[in-house]
Amino acid sequence: MRKHFYGALGAAALGFAALTAPAMAQGTLRVAIPSNLNTLDAAKTKLGEEYIMNFLIFSGLVEVDGKGGVKPDLAESWTKSEDLKTWTFKLRPGVKFHNGRELEAEDVKATIARVMDKATGSTARVNFDIVESIETPDKGTVVFKLKIPYSGFAELFGDRQVRILPRDKFDTIASEPIGTGPFKFKAFRPGDRVELVKNPDYYIKGEPKLDAVTFRIMPESAAQVAALETGELDLVWSLPLETLDQFKKNPDVVIDSTPTSTWDGLIMNSAHKPFDDPRVRKAIAMALDKPALVEVALYGQGTPTHTMIPPSHPYYNKDIPIAAPDIEGAKKLLAEAGYPNGFEATLYLPNGRPTRERLGIAAKELLAPLGIKIELQRVPWDKFVKEIEGKAAFYTDGFYSRPTIDTSIYPWFHSAGSWNTQLWNYKNPAIDRVLDDARAAKTEDERAALYKKFQALAEEVPAGAIPYVQNHVNAFRKNVKGFSSSPMMWLDLRETTVQ
């Protein structure tokens, strides 16, 4: 009996050794993503993984160009009225959905009307509150009438939830998406994989170059690392920053890092003492060592900044330096505010958001010299959203890159902004005025000047502390060509090939 048992073990071991990975299909890119998708309905998407699909399966009216502006996508051209309240988009003729039906202006109208419907629950809805009416004078023209002058309206259509969907397929779009994008949806096995294949009728001739893309849903980073090293995968999207070191010595793997406007912040709620006093907020902001926070929270994969406008953006205000921490100055401000010996505070951290957890831990140490005694408390994400955000006095939070400058700032900093009252209750009339003016700015120079002024104002009377913007890091094997990481953190695979 014993002999048989050992014999069986030996045979099993030999069997394992003989196994090999299946032969790879040519022109198929295999990508790892960490989380399962909730939905494939672009209007309802909220996760980075879902945004990837949005840009591969669907198209928007416009496309972000990565330099702070937009370029044509489904809209071939657009014009705005003198008062910035009427916007007319001309659709690219002959664009077909994956089911062969031609794209029409009615599809655009129905898509946006659906995003604007509260029951859809799209996070892009607030951006379209300014829309008064949508008209379709002919099959190739859409006219938007706005309630207010809004200079960045075309940019809104580069956003992730505002992909144009076929109006007759809304009820099945979440599980069988049909779009006009470079890749067609083939299959989604929840928890396992998403498979896309080339759209041969994509409106840009010769693109995409790949035959297919397979996304593997792999939550465990050790598994991602192993699979990339052995060639079981071609690309790991949004590499966990703590695994970066493991690839440094591997000649077959390229680490591609790009600055984004995704930010984390130390949120100080003005509705609560002592953060109602701007001097306290300013003191805390002054005491933070931003480059050190980049090292600790992001393993160096980020850039110190003033607000969510990243240093890579043309509107970034270079005249304001990233100041070294000023403990003495901060102490003086705290004393003026009536806290010469500091105070005690609980800092809430969202569980499972590693960069924000590390930011909080570092802040505790950096603020100790001011006499601020911080008790850290980790909170599960559910509870964090319901009970901490907008309600607690002191917590760390963070936000994904937004495609337009106005939608990146206005909701957080304007006193009427949709997220302001659910984050830090910040009210600054000077900033309100600047942000409103920027919306109605007629020229690019005027707009840039206003946003630079905004940064100076926010630095002077901080809402909280935004120490850095993060880098987005992808790792891919040498045989992947024609790929570069996008600041929007989605994957543009139109020019990509696997050799």
Binding site: M1, R2, F5, F16, A17, A18, L19, T20, A21, P22, N36, N38, T39, D41, K44, K46, D117, K118, A119, G121, T123, R125, A174, S175, R189, P190, G191, D192, R193, R216, I217, M218, P219, E220, A222, A223, Q224, V225, A226, A227, E229, T230, E232, W381, D382, K383, V385, K386, E387, E389, G390, P411, S418, W419, Q422, L423
Partner: protein, 318 residues
């Protein structure tokens, strides 16, 4: 016997009904609901209300429960709220994937656990016995996610013999398919084998010391016959109980193993559903798992009766 089985099956139905109420109640008291999840991080009240209305979540709890339960009774498990696709196929497909993993692991645990236990008992206090002890203690005392990651690093990353995770497809060939199962099954087996082998060992040792075994030896029966025909049958009784309990363990461990090996099973689906408060998905998943556990216990009880003539269900005469 048949009457006994029918009674037990009715009991299982009652347990599942109670479970469904419990799960529903728990999801009601959890902070947040699926409308919050769908509306996103900073949605205003009006948006959340609009979504709740669209999904019928603004109805009183007992009405919601009844709608759902009535659906199940008519064979309709409803629609996943978050994924907007039917729950039935979603849960069933994930369950089959897990069942494959779990049943291979279960057979491995049973076979190797019993074999190791018996070997250790026969070679009591000798090298083989100690080796089995060390092996099983290490297995039981180190959590499965550790072994899983060690497995990935050694067999996938350095040796490159096995894939690091995912599920294979039979269309790619048998080995390509089977190779995806090796690491998850080994991880599950390794952490559970100790229970079975330890218990089999002690009950085997006890049996080998009993009078009837001494009689058998005195009668001159070969040792192999004594062990296989006489001792093992009795020594296995407690093992059967533990194996049934291990089904529960297995279902718990499988959640972790599926996550580490990116295996698309019921454990991960359930985790996903719970994080997103997707009630129809949570309910269907939990009911299925509860049903499996109840059935495993029933089968264990029946096996017990088969191996131990002292217990015979449903017979009046003693």
């Amino acid at each position: 016997m048949a009457l006994y089985v029918i009674m037990r099956l009715l009991g299982i139905v009652a347990i599942l009904a109670v479970m469904s109420v419990l799960v529903f109640a728990i999801t009601q008291v959890m902070p947040g609901n699926v409308a919050n999840v769908l509306a996103g991080q900073f949605a205003d009240e009006a948006t959340v209300r609009a979504i709740e209305h669209r999904l019928g979540l603004d109805a009183p709890a007992h009405v919601q429960y009844w709608r759902w339960a009535a659906g199940i009774l008519s064979g309709n498990f409803g629609q996943s709220i978050v994924m907007e696709r039917p729950v039935g196929p979603l849960v069933w497909e994930a369950f089959l994937s897990s069942a494959l993993l779990a049943s291979i692991a279960f057979v491995m645990v049973a076979v190797f656990g019993i074999v190791l236990g018996v070997v250790a008992a026969i070679r009591q206090n000798r090298f083989t016995d100690h080796a089995v002890s060390v092996f099983s203690y290490v297995g039981v005392s180190v959590p499965e996610f550790f072994w899983a990651i060690v497995g990935i690093i050694v067999f996938a990353r350095y040796l490159d013999w096995l894939p690091s995770g995912g599920a294979g497809n039979l269309s790619q060939g048998f080995w390509a398919w089977a190779s995806h199962l090796v690491l998850p099954v080994l991880t599950l087996t390794f952490t559970l084998i100790a229970h079975v082998s330890r218990l089999t060992r002690s009950s085997m040792i006890e049996t080998l010391r009993s009078n009837y075994v001494r009689n058998a030896r005195a009668k001159g029966l070969p040792e192999g016959v004594i062990i296989r025909r006489h001792a093992l049958r009795n020594a296995l009784l407690p093992t059967i109980t533990v194996l049934a309990i291990d089904v529960g363990w297995l279902l718990g461990n499988i959640v972790v193993v599926e996550a580490v090996f990116s295996y698309p099973g019921i454990g991960r689906l359930l985790l996903f559903a719970i994080e997103r408060h997707d009630l129809p998905l949570i309910q269907a998943g939990i009911l299925l798992i509860a049903a499996v556990y109840c059935l495993a216990n029933l089968i264990a009880d029946l096996l017990y009766a088969y191996f131990n003539p002292k217990i015979r269900y449903g017979q009046i005469e003693s």
